[in-house]
């Protein structure tokens, strides 16, 4: 039997054992939804249901993560939950991307993002069976160290100069967030987590996504990412619970979509209603399970660890 299948089965067993031991409940939520995340950097795949109840057809989106329905369960009072979810993203295929992949996503009522980082580290250690050390950096400190600029204070001309200094030849990048993503992906990420688990936290508010802003300093968001051996493995938030603020962010993202000529997406009114009713204070994280498998097998690309990738699905 191929190693990649056995290794995945073992990884799934370890994940379930980990959460069983901590009283976190496994849940399943629908893959199809009439709403979608509005993040302009994540493009959902669309399909259509036609039949009883919807004879004229109902547009549905394949989930890009199970975040919205899981938050609805939390608002219902589910307590701590996790899910092993197949998720779908249009336009993403490469060494570390496949348009369909497995996310391990979990939520911890009562945790902040630092407590959740500790639990993510425990989970990865349990999955890999290695006593890995942990280090944490703020987003700003990483930029000062590796790029030599402050990600919020530097203007676009200074970011461009920093890119030239690093020998990067770049086409089409214009705004600040694109520059920050470029430095993170091309320069910083490959250097992170060489032999330990590296957490990056306190992202610029412009990249808050669904994280709350830091209570003491609203220039930054309570968001973190995990990098291991130069690979982005997980993204987590101390979750935004403010329904009005969430709606404002969705609408702003749709405005950005319009500006970029992307499809506008229907807001998840069910999620907004759940936030309105009250999402418990919680932290949540999504971890790319295929990438974790890739690292555990020392594979160089996702295709090598998937049963079948885009190329032969």
């Amino acid at each position: 039997m191929p190693d990649r299948l056995r290794a995945r089965a073992q990884l799934l067993r370890r994940v379930r054992r980990f959460f069983d031991g901590r009283g976190v409940m496994e849940v399943c939520t629908p893959v199809l939804s009439r709403a979608a995340g509005t993040d302009p950097a994540i493009e959902p795949l669309r399909t259509c249901y036609t039949g009883p109840e919807y004879p004229g057809g109902l547009d549905l989106y394949l989930q890009t993560s199970p975040e919205f329905p899981m938050k609805r369960l939390l608002a219902e009072g589910s307590g701590p939950i996790y899910q092993l979810a197949q998720v779908f993203r249009d336009g993403e295929y490469g060494l570390r991307h496949n348009p369909e992949f497995t996310l391990l996503e979990w939520y911890r009522p009562g945790f902040d993002h630092h407590q959740l980082m500790d639990e993510v580290a425990d989970l990865v250690r349990a999955c890999l069976g290695e006593p890995l050390e942990v280090e944490k950096f703020t987003y700003v400190d990483l930029f000062l160290e590796h790029i030599g600029v402050h990600p919020l204070d530097a203007d676009v001309a200074e970011l461009l100069a920093a890119a030239e200094q690093l020998g990067l030849v770049v086409e089409g990048v214009t705004d600040r967030n694109e520059w920050l993503d470029l430095f993170m992906s091309l320069v910083i990420e490959p250097r992170l987590g060489r032999d330990r688990l590296t957490f990056v936290h306190d992202y610029p508010a412009s990249q808050a996504s669904l994280a709350r802003l830091n209570p003491g300093d609203s220039r930054f968001a309570s968001r973190f990412e995990l990098y291991f051996r130069g690979v982005e493995l997980a993204n987590g938030f101390h979750e935004l619970t403010d329904a009005a603020e969430q709606r404002r962010r969705f609408e702003e993202e749709n405005r950005q979509r319009e500006k970029k000529g992307q499809r506008l997406l229907p807001l998840d009114e069910n999620l907004l209603a759940a936030l309105e009713a009250g999402l418990p204070d919680c932290a949540g994280v999504a971890l790319g399970l295929d990438r974790l498998l890739m690292l555990s097998l020392n594979a160089s690309c996702l295709d090598d660890v998937l049963s079948f990738s885009l190329k032969n699905a």
């Binding site: 490469g94 770049v170 470029l182 992906s185 091309l186």
Partner: protein, 189 residues
Amino acid sequence: MATYSTNEFRGGLKLLLDGDPCVIIENEFVKPGKGQAFNRVKLRNLKTGRVLEKTFKSGESVEAADVMDRDLQYLYNDGEYWYFMDNESFEQYQADAQAMGDAVKWIKDQDVCNVTLWNNQPILVEAPNFVVLEITDTDPGLKGDTSGGGGKPATLETGAVVRVPLFVQIGEKIKVDTRKGEYISRAKD
């Protein structure tokens, strides 16, 4: 003007960058989970042969280079240009020294070469991977030495110099790998 979007990027695709035709050697898709996607591309400039790295924001379009590869037969050299012919259309092309590059060291009349045409002008001529050439000069060396070790320089009819085993003599024809500039074997006529 034909263009390619980054989704069409793959090895072998020819683009026009800063006015020069380039070919993609490697294309890597890079994207943070919650951020902008990029195509990190390694290219070869077809005029200069230089390899460069460039990162494109995914979704951008880049002008295509009107570049094609043709098998053309080498005819002659008039001191300034090297002349080639398409054996099907009988169309003739002239290549300058820059386009010829190293190929001048290896080719003889009648050889068929892979020629890269940009806007219908040769910009890169590749010698066949293997050529058979006569040795015009080499040290007589030791007859009967078949050890293969050491070797000696030999000048070929095109003027190129390669290392050959000691037993190979003036007037013999040898097979050469033009990509490495290495002797392969003696050639039978």
